[in-house]
Each structure stands twice: as structure tokens, then as C-alpha cells.
Amino acid sequence: MLTLTIWISFLGAAAIALMPAQNKHAIRWTALGTASLALLVAIVHYFKYDIPKAGFQFGFDAPWIPQIGAGFHFGVDGFSLPLVLLTGIIAVTGILYSWNIEDRVKEFFTLFLVLIGGVYGVFQALDIFLIFLFYEIAIIPKYFIIAIWGSTRKEYGAMKLVLYSLVGSSMVFIGMLAMFFVSGAKTFDIVQLRQMSEAGVFPAYFQLWAFPLIFVGFGILGGLVPFHTWAPTGHVAAPTAASMLLAGVVMKLGTYGALRVGIYLMPDGLAAWKWPVALLAVIGIVYGALIAFVQKDFKFVIGYSSVSHMGFVLLGLVTLNVIGLSGAILQMFSHGILSGLLFAVVGRLVYDRTHTRQLADLGGLYKAIPFAAVVFFIAGFASAGLPGFSGFVAELQILIGSWKAFPAFAVVAGFGIVMTFVYILRAMHAAFIGDSEQDAEKWKKLPPITWPEKVASILLIGCSLVVGIYPGIMTDLIDSAAVPFIQNLFIQSGH
């Protein structure tokens, strides 16, 4: 049962809530154990997933609120299983990178695991109402984690994040109700709604206005320009593990929702809106990269890089071909891993030691903490699309896909990749390179890198490397969902 991932996380949270607060070590180990167990369940199910059979597997369906047709319906396919895996990986590494938290350890890990449980839930729920519920479960702990353990305008960042998310949710809510009433079937079940959608229950004019509500509503959380400004502020304000979660999985909730509820149920709506969406995606890629280039705060560089990279996801989603869509899912996975790693370097490996993130004040850190420099170097180049890492495969797929769908946008997105290298190199040189006496003196007393940090970094780099060298490990799974989806699309629209 893959749904165990959800319940294990919630149970872990409950267990920690009952533990004595002063026993910090036991709490940390409990949290790590819980997250690892959930990851293990996810990995086991990755191997158990029957790719030739495809479709939703490891399902579970029980009535919940029969009056409105909401059910406890779970299941995963090739779109969601990679993201479930990603959640597990980010949860484990996030806890490892939070090993040093000393302030309210118990509350931190309780909220952390609740959040993780909520994210697992969103990726597995097959009922819009249930998705909505888990989505909100994920957002509330987010607020407290940022507002309590954060830095740099943390209350502002937390509030901005929550307000933006809630605006998005309300748009989704309206769209969801509209689908509920228009379908007339009194159900929120995605599988049933999908069948109805294929049967043509949602007329084109309806999709024309309902699709943007759902897509933009979820897209806000996925960093859709111009509704993205919560992301950099939120990332910067959040503590390391929370930035990792935020960039690593929470932003994916947005793009995943846009796919699962928006594109999956209303493909005609996407067909009508694909040019504006693609335009916004490409603007996001270039615009995010440009802004990242002039940031003075190290974490803001990575924050804006997320906006830029999520633009690739959005671009891939709307290509309406297998390779582009497959690339979008892979980019979600890859960006989850790599942005998590980048935030970990900036927030945990650097900021927690130097207590400054201003690039002007950093410099010459390579000598003091070479491990951090090497990890940032690898993660930065990998996220910019260095062959051998997952980012290259994903960007390659997205660019091939968008080359077919919108060649001009593909060209602009290609230049976005050059700009990624430019800002990554700029930040890297400013923070790590340089060897003045002054720097050496300043960083003499930096604490050494600890074992949880090393384990987590190597784990994340390893994941990206494996997918980068042997992409089949992910693409076969993703394609098992993408191929039938795109085929249906063409049968329906009579291409």
C-alpha cells in the first residue's frame, strides 16, 4: 500500500508530538526514521509498479462524504509516482539538513512531518476534494515553519506565501465546483471525471473559462509569472529544510495540480490557452534568470532560479506532445532534487556557518568549506543542464518537445539556459572563489561539515546523476502515463 507513506508521516508527527520536548535526539531520530520508512515504502512501490499495465495502481477507494460524492480515492500513475519518490527523498534529506535545529525541535519536526504527509496525500489523491484537503494540510504548517524558524522578513514571507496560496486555492475551488455542477454526476472523482471529459461532458466554451481558473490557481504555487513573487521571498525567509520542501516539492504541488486537475480533465481548455501559457512560461525562464543575475543575497539567486526552472516545467506541460510532457515531469523531479541541494548549500552549509548571505560579504569560502563549494558547483552546473545530470535530460526533452510545438519559444528558452550558467557562475565565484588574507582570516573558525550534511548531499547528487546517465529509470515510468494521455488527446480532437 503506497498510501502508507501518508499515514506513516502523520503517525510520525503524532508520535513526536507526544514525546518529551527535551529529548531532542530521540525526536530527530524518530523523524528521520519516519521519513526513511516512508521513502522505503515509495521505493518498494516504484519497483512494484507495473509499467506495461500502466494506469492507476496501488489504488484504494472508499466513500467519504457520499452526499457530495467525495471519496477517499488514492492511486498513482506515471505522473505522480516520480513525485512521490521525490517527496520521500526531499523529506529524508531535509531532516538530515535540519539536524542542527535546537529551537523547538519537537514542534519543528511535527509540523515538518504533517507537511510531508499532506504532500504525499496530494500526489496520491484521485479525488479533487481530497487533493484540495491535502493541499491545505500542506500549506498551514508551511506558514508556521517559516514564521517561527525563518529569517529575513519571515513574517512577511510566510504571510505572502499563504495569501498567494489561498488566492490560488480559491480559484481552484471555484473551478472545482464548476466542474462538479457542469458534469452533473455529483462526483469529485478524477477517474470518473476524466472518463466524462473524454466523453465530451465539458463543452469547449466551459473549458475556455474554467481551465484558466484551475491552471492559474495551481500555477501560482508552481511559480507562474507574474504570480511568482511569493516564491523568492518565501524561499529566502524559510529555514533550510523548509526552502528545500518549498522549492523541492511544494512548487511541484502547483504544477502537478495544474496537470492532474487542469490539463488532465480539460485538455481542450489547454489547447485554447496553450500560447498564452507557453508565453508566460518562457517569460518566466528568461525573466527569472535575469533577476537571479543581479541579486545581492545568495539565497535570492537560488529563489529566482526556481522561478526560471519552473518555467521549463510549465513550458513542457503545454507542449501537448509526449516528449515535452515527459520532460516536464522529469524536470519537476530533477528540479526538486537540485533546488533542494542548492538551498541546502546556501542555507545550511553556508548561511548557518557564516551568518550572512550577502554575496558581497562572502567570498573565498572554498578554502574554508571545500565540501560546500564542490556541492554547489555540481548542483549549480547540474541544474543549468550539464550532461550527465538529470537537468540535462529534462531540459533536452522539454526543448525537443517545445521545438515541435513552438520553435520560437524553444529558442528563447535555450538562451535561458545560457543565462543560468551566467548567474550560477557569478554567484559561485562571488561566494566561493577568491583567496585574500582577509577572507582566510574571516572564515578561519567556521565549523566543519557534519555527517548528516554529507550524507544528504551525496544522496541528492547521486539521484540526479543516476537519472542523468540512465534516464530510462524515470522516463519509462513517466511515459507509461504520458503516452496514453497524449494519444487520447489526439483521438478526441481528431488529429
Partner: protein, 687 residues
């Protein structure tokens, strides 16, 4: 069709071994220098031996007009039923030639590095990166897929970045590394688009396969041509460009970036900030030639549509060859002179390919790899002996102090200038011969540019040699001595190669047509002519003579201005000299345009994000608050007040009436209560 692979089955081991060595040495500690060096050099030796086997395979199996080609292809991953991204390796004469160049020159330079890096505490890391580079470069030359080629291409760029910035604590080295990476990256994006276009047009990422349906085999080329002419209107401007030509030019963008062709040549001279073995291996012999190799590999695409794309290649190449040679005449850093010389020679190779001299271009790549590696290692030996002094004005008289280095350097110089019978003579003659007979570019521009560049090459090399080896030592603080055997033996090996490879493959009665036959039996080329070759010695001799006349007199004492500056200044050309010395201000122009524009755009976007978008949100927030204040006011003043006032009015109006009931006397209330209960009781009973 089943192909007999034999040893070709193992071709992937050639790049894999250096990669493994790199991975293993990366895990070693700094102090384990010897095992690291042994491992890296051992892996490279095996790769070299395997490369020799591959060459032998090609040599023994090619007969007649038939081209030898064996491929090992595999599917990397699939996306849907339609899209198979295939990768693979190919062994043919081109990749065999490149394998030998890379593994042989690489091996020699690795050995040299043991001596050169002996004082560096991070030498073990240096070998890790060298090995990473070697693996990527060997993979690049045998890639049978433009996609795989691109992947190795990027890894090569990465290792170049790391190695240029190996002494990262020098700000100039760090900046040069960054610049090299970004400038080549600009070219690479064109390459990447070319890759997408090729994939889009042919539906395969494989270049060659057994059934001749690869992207650059007959079927694929037909599909590329079938796309036809692209019509684009660009801001009202009607553009029409054949798809095939655009595709070729996109690929050429990448080649121009990597091979330092105008206008992307600016990074290569700066790359000399890296340790000298790196300059020799990467920025002279192998990586920078990858661009030339790429054009050669994709030659069938360049030839489509009447070879229009080749015209561009020829013109860019010829221009680069001349421009860089001019700049090289006014530099003082021993390595920078060689760097501009490299840019110039790469231009030569491009020009050769552009005028249809496929074999000549690759032949020059081959010979150049040996004599330019020799020159760089010679420069390295000199720099090592002079305690990292690189200014040729502070050297002098080294012929006596470092005889082995000096003599091998002079052989390299002769080869570069094209002195009979050294290597450069044969390949350069081949290029100029092709350029002379080619009608690809009007007015024979490549030929004249090439000849002028040959004169200048001889001139600046003579100037450099006089400065470095003759006269008296000018830097008083330097006490140079001959380098160790681990450094001089590689020099001798390369000097030997610089003498021999030309004769073996160029001399008509010995090698002659052999290189043509080996590389491209199906292509016809103008045959070697002794008369033409003799005439083509003249530019070199003129250059040497000019250099001798200008510089020989001032070999011992160098006071005041540079002789050439004096000369040009006297005839009123001082600004021109300054422009040459400042590399025609390319860096300044780029700083003022591209770099400034990017910075401006980025700041503008930042302001938009902070002020416009967040500002709009802020306005929205203020508007919502204003609305809520308004509602509160409406509530208070409209609804609430009206209600309150109405209530008040009622109270006032009915105050007298209510006063009767609301007396505050408890007994009265109890009476009413009792009455009420009685009434209720009555109702209950009655009903």
C-alpha cells in the same frame, strides 16, 4: 546486415578508462600524488594502445574507394513510440585519426605535467581533472550521435573551465575560466539548436548506422534537403534561408565558440591563465580543435545546398587567421603569443574546410596538434625555469642555458612557420593549394588572407624566438636552468613527431596521397605540386627575414619602445600599433555592449519584479484594505447607524409606554410571570 565488429566492440573503453581514473583519483587524498599520477597515466596509456588498435583496424580494413566505418549504437531512452534517443560510437578514419592525436598528445602532456606541477600542492587534483578532460575528449571524437557529441562537448567545456581556473586564487584565472565557459556556451547554444533541427528533420539522433539511414547518410541528408527553404519575416524583413544552410551554420556557431573563431575568439587568449600543460593539451592541441573536428564530422551537412554554409566557414576562418596573426605580432606574454597563433591556425583549418579542403584541414589539425603542443610545452619549460615569468622582454639568451628546450622550440617554430620539411610545411601547403584552386569564395580571398597570415606567423615567431633565445638575459632576477628529463623527453618526442608526421604523410613519394586515401578516398583534391610548394615557402621566408631585420639588432639591449612600435610610430601609425596591442579592443567592445546590455536588462527585470509586480500586489492590498475600511464605515454610518438610530428613536418614542412595564420592581415582574404561567396552564388545559 550483421557487421563484424571485432575490437570495435570495445571502443567505449577508450573514454571510459580515463573517466574511471578521474573518479578514483577524485576520492584520493591530496598527499597520494604518486598513485594518482600512476593511475591516470596508466589509464591513458591503455586508451592510447586501444586507439592504436583502432587505427590499425581502420588501416587494415580499408581498401579502394570504400570507406571503413563501424558503429556501436544503443538506445539511451525513449519518449513514446516515436522518439528514440539513440547514442553510439563510430570508428572511421576521422575518429581513428582524432583518437591518435588526443591520446598520444594527451599521454605526452600528462608525463610532462609530473615535472611541471611538482611544486603544486594540489597536483593530485590536477591529474583528476586532466583525466576527466581526456575521457570527455576521447568520447567526443568517437561519438556517433550529435547528441552524445554535444554531451561530451559540454563535459570538455567543463573540464576546460576547471583547468583554466585551477589556480582559482588568482582573480585573473578565475575570471578567465568564467569568461571561457560563458563565451563558448554562447556558441554552444547555437550548436544545441542545430542538434534539435537535425533531430527534427531526420528523426534520428544517430549519425551513421548500418543501413545507411543515419542523420548524415544519404537518407538523412535527403530529409534535411526536403525541408526546403525557410521563410521568416523578421520585423518586416523577409528572410529566406535554406534549412540545410541554417542547420550547418547553427552547428558552426558551436564550432566557432570552441575553436576560438571570430567573433567568439576572445576567451582563448585569456585561457592561458591555466597551468601551461593545460594550455598545451586543451587550448592548443585538442579541445580547441574540436570545433574543426565538428565541422569535419558534419561535413556532408555543410556541403548541402551547394556548400553555401562552407562559404561562411571559409570567410570566418580566413578572417580569423589573419586577424589573430596581426594581434600576435604585438603581444609580450609568451603564452599569449602562442594563443593568438593557435587562434590563427584554427582559422586556417576552418578556412581549409570552407574551401573544400576536407583532408587539408584535418591534416593541419593533425600536424598542428604536435608542433603546437611542442611549442606550449617548450614555453612551459621556459616558464617553469624562469619562476613563472612570462614576459618575453624579461627573457633572453636561453639558447645556451636551456639547449634542449630551445632547440626543440626552434623545431616547433619552424614547423609552425612552414619550413621544409617540417610538419607545418606540408599541411599548410595543402591548405593554400586547396584555397588557390577553390572557387568557393570570390576573388580567392581565403588564399590571399592565408598567405598574409603565413607571413605574419613567421614574423611573430621570429620575433619571439629572438627575444627569448638570443642576446642576453634581460630579467636580472632570473637564473634559468634546463628542466628535468621528465619534461625534456616529452619535448624531444614531440619535436621528433613534428619533423616526421609531415614527411610521412605529406611527401608525395613517401606518404603523399596516403593521407587523402586514408581520410577521404572518395574526394578529389588538387595533387601536390613541388613548384607551388616552393613558392609557398616564400611567405615564411619573408616573415622570418622581416622579423630578423626588425629585431636582431635589439636582441641584447631593449631600452625604450618596442622596435616595431618605434618603426610604426615613426611612420605615423602609432594608434594602429596600440589597437593591435589591445587586441582591437574586442573585450572593451563586448563589455560596453553585450555585457552592459545584459546587466541593464537584469537590473530592469529586478526593478520590475520589486516595484511593478509587488507594487501592483501592494496596490491590490491597499485597495482591499480601503474597501474594508469603506465597508466598516458603511456598516458604522449606514447600516449600523440607521439601525441604532431607529432603535433609539423607537426607544425614545415608546419610552413612556415601556416605563409602565419596565419599572424595575421585582414583585411586579413576579406578578406578571405568575400571570403568564397561569395563562399558559389554561391554554394547555383547554386544548
Amino acid at each position: 546486415m550483421e557487421q563484424e565488429l571485432g575490437i570495435v566492440k570495445w571502443i567505449w573503453l577508450i573514454p571510459l578508462l580515463p573517466f574511471l581514473a578521474a573518479g578514483l583519483t577524485a576520492l584520493m587524498r591530496k598527499e597520494q600524488r604518486q598513485p594518482a599520477q600512476a593511475l591516470v597515466i596508466g589509464a591513458m596509456s591503455i586508451s592510447f594502445l586501444l586507439s592504436c588498435c583502432m587505427l590499425a583496424k581502420v588501416l587494415t580494413h580499408s581498401h579502394g574507394e570504400e570507406t571503413f566505418r563501424k558503429v556501436v549504437n544503443f538506445v539511451w531512452f525513449t519518449s513514446g513510440a516515436a522518439t528514440h534517443l539513440e547514442l553510439g560510437f563510430v570508428l572511421d578514419s576521422l575518429s581513428a585519426l582524432m583518437l591518435i592525436v588526443v591520446s598520444l598528445v594527451g599521454l605526452v602532456i600528462f608525463i610532462f605535467s609530473i615535472g611541471y606541477m611538482d611544486e603544486d600542492e594540489n597536483a593530485a587534483r590536477f591529474f583528476t581533472f586532466l583525466s576527466l578532460f581526456a575521457g570527455s575528449m576521447l568520447g567526443l571524437v568517437i561519438a556517433n550521435s550529435l547528441l552524445l557529441l554535444f554531451m561530451f562537448w559540454e563535459l570538455v567545456g567543463l573540464s576546460s573551465y576547471i583547468l583554466i581556473g585551477f589556480w582559482y586564487f588568482k582573480p585573473s584565472a578565475a575570471a578567465a575560466a568564467k569568461k571561457a565557459f560563458i563565451v563558448t556556451r554562447v556558441g554552444d547554444i547555437g550548436f544545441f539548436f542545430g542538434l534539435l533541427m537535425l533531430f527534427y528533420a531526420t528523426g534520428t539522433s544517430i549519425l551513421f548506422n548500418q543501413v545507411a539511414s543515419g542523420a548524415i547518410q544519404t537518407a538523412g541528408l535527403h530529409r534535411i534537403e526536403a525541408v526546403g527553404i525557410l521563410h521568416e519575416s523578421f520585423f518586416g524583413l523577409q528572410l529566406a534561408i535554406p534549412f540545410a544552410v541554417l542547420l550547418a551554420l547553427m552547428i558552426f556557431c558551436g564550432a566557432a565558440g570552441k575553436s576560438g573563431q571570430f567573433p567568439l575568439h576572445v576567451w582563448l587568449p585569456d585561457a592561458m591563465e591555466g597551468p601551461t600543460p593545460v594550455s598545451a593539451l586543451i587550448h592548443a592541441a585538442t579541445m580547441v580543435a574540436a570545433g574543426v573536428f565538428l565541422v569535419a564530422r558534419m561535413y556532408p551537412v555543410f556541403e548541402l545546398h551547394g556548400g553555401d554554409a562552407l562559404k561562411v566557414v571559409a570567410i570566418i576562418g580566413a578572417f580569423t587567421a589573419l586577424m589573430a596573426a596581426v594581434i600576435g605580432c604585438a603581444q609580450f606574454d609568451i603564452k599569449r603569443i602562442l594563443a593568438y597563433s593557435t587562434v590563427s591556425q584554427l582559422g586556417y583549418m576552418m578556412m581549409a574546410l570552407g574551401v573544400g579542403g576536407y583532408v587539408a584541414g584535418m591534416f593541419h589539425l593533425f600536424t598542428h596538434a604536435f608542433f603546437k603542443a611542442l611549442l606550449f610545452l617548450g614555453a612551459g619549460s621556459i616558464i617553469h625555469a624562469c619562476h613563472h615569468e612570462q614576459d618575453i622582454r624579461n627573457m633572453g639568451g636561453l639558447l645556451k642555458k636551456m639547449p634542449v628546450t630551445a632547440w626543440s622550440y626552434l623545431i616547433g617554430t619552424g614547423a609552425l612557420c612552414g619550413i621544409f620539411p617540417l610538419a607545418g610545411f606540408w599541411s599548410k601547403d595543402d591548405i593554400l593549394l586547396d584555397a588557390f584552386y577553390s572557387a568557393n569564395v570570390p576573388y580567392n580571398i581565403p588564399f590571399f588572407f592565408g598567405t598574409a597570415a603565413a607571413i605574419l606567423t613567421a614574423f611573430y615567431m621570429t620575433r619571439q624566438c629572438i627575444y627569448v633565445f638570443f642576446g642576453e638575459m634581460r630579467g636580472s632576477h632570473l637564473h634559468p636552468h634546463e628542466s628535468r628529463a621528465v619534461m625534456t623527453i616529452p619535448l624531444c618526442l614531440l619535436a621528433g613527431a613534428s619533423v616526421l608526421v609531415g614527411v610521412l604523410y605529406g611527401w608525395p613519394s613517401i606518404g603523399g596521397a596516403k593521407i587523402h586515401h586514408f581520410l577521404a578516398p572518395e574526394r578529389s583534391a588538387p595533387p601536390f605540386q613541388w613548384r607551388f610548394a616552393a613558392v609557398m615557402m616564400l611567405p615564411a621566408l619573408v616573415g622570418i627575414l622581416a622579423g630578423y631585420l626588425v629585431y636582431w639588432r635589439s636582441r641584447s639591449r631593449l631600452k625604450g619602445l618596442e622596435p616595431m612600435e618605434k618603426l610604426l610610430g615613426a611612420s605615423g601609425f602609432a594608434p594602429i600599433y596600440r589597437a593591435i596591442q589591445n587586441k582591437f579592443y574586442f573585450d572593451e567592445i563586448y563589455d560596453a555592449t553585450v555585457v552592459a546590455f545584459n546587466g541593464w536588462l537584469a537590473r530592469a527585470a529586478d526593478i520590475v519584479d520589486r516595484i511593478v509586480i509587488d507594487g501592483l500586489i501592494w496596490i491590490l492590498g491597499v485597495a482591499v484594505r480601503a474597501l474594508s475600511i469603506l465597508s466598516q464605515w458603511m456598516d458604522d454610518s449606514g447600516i449600523n447607524r440607521g439601525f441604532d438610530e431607529a432603535c433609539e428613536g423607537i426607544r425614545d418614542a415608546s419610552a413612556s409606554n415601556r416605563a409602565i412595564i419596565q419599572t424595575g420592581a421585582l414583585q411586579r415582574y413576579l406578578k406578571f410571570l405568575a400571570a403568564g404561567v397561569a395563562v399558559l396552564f389554561l391554554i394547555l388545559v383547554l386544548l
